[in-house]
Symmetry: C2
Subunit: 195 residues, 2 copies
């Protein structure tokens, strides 16, 4: 998606070790107009799937998941990383590594919202190693729902998450794909090879 | 706001100790159409203030803050509760008690996004004791910005947060106000007194 790629080119920072800082429009400060556009684009790409719920992980997945759910006219559920006191004692819980925290985090959903054989569209900010998204897939399936599609704003193809998710045989859509962050560069998957 | 009140009447659960569970449309599962309506209403009520940024606290503030920011056409910043590795070493940090976690949590913002004498509109899901919102006020002011308004989806007037915030002398708007959660009831501020 052109708007998102331009924004990454302009404001994204390569912090090294494959860490892309997009704190000025996705991860700390959020551009709601850009997020709305991304949600509209996800809704367009996934509209034929008949999804009944969007599922994401707090925190940074919430904005794109919310706008996607808005444009599809369905609810969004965000997996919690800590269990709030409003949640029932029986929950679905899985562990996933956090890239930006450098440790395992819990992903928790209440059976109240995923147990009705939902058709689940997973939306997150990044598709990197695929580990968080796989965690969400496990939660959805444990709850008796079916994952029908996966979307992420930004794919880091050099971390091979797509290969991890391909066996699920569901459509995977990303709005900006980065193939390399060697040195200080941010190279997009569709950039022409440098001479 | 009628839609929000009706939803609380229908799906809100009084868990005792002043805890209102609204996990089916605000806090775990989110109704994006309702959130969009709430954001539109906040934007209408606050449009004259000339706000330049919306500020909220992760996690549950993100949805209403995002939709408000969208309808005002300005960015939203969400204070983090843990410092991600993408954030600079120098940050603004304050402590606020978490109602649903029963302990103090950190609220952290990067100087990158609040240091330009912004006019800050604070949006959160709940106005209860006012402690989280006061924490956000401290962050905004420490960063050199000015708070121009405060909005929350649901006010629990029996926890007196409004009195705590009144000395700030900024408009405070809430879209549903609950005056009592005695017994199993949820009594709204504008309900007629029972006979």
């Amino acid at each position: 998606m052109k708007d998102l790629k331009e924004r990454i080119r302009k404001e994204g920072q390569n912090l090294g070790n494959g860490i892309l800082k997009v704190d000025s429009f996705v991860n700390h400060q959020v551009d709601p107009v850009l997020m709305d556009g991304c949600g509209r684009e996800f809704a367009r790409r996934f509209e034929k799937l008949g999804a009944t719920k969007v599922l994401t992980a707090e925190i940074s997945g919430i904005a794109p998941a919310l706008t996607t759910a808005f444009h599809l006219g369905i609810p969004v559920v965000y997996a919690r990383k800590t269990k709030p006191i409003t949640m029932p004692d029986q929950v679905f819980l899985t562990l996933a590594p956090s890239h930006t925290k450098g440790r395992m985090v819990e992903l928790i959903v209440s059976p109240e919202f995923l147990a009705n054989h939902e058709k689940v569209l997973i939306i997150d900010d990044f598709l990197a190693s695929g580990a968080t998204i796989l965690g969400l897939v496990r939660l959805a399936e444990a709850a008796g729902s079916q994952v029908v599609g996966i979307g992420a704003l930004i794919e880091k193809s050099f971390e091979h998450g797509r290969e991890v998710l391909n066996p699920l045989k569901v459509p995977i859509e990303t709005l900006a794909c980065i193939r390399s962050m060697e040195g200080n560069n941010i190279e997009f998957c569709d950039d022409l090879p440098s001479a």
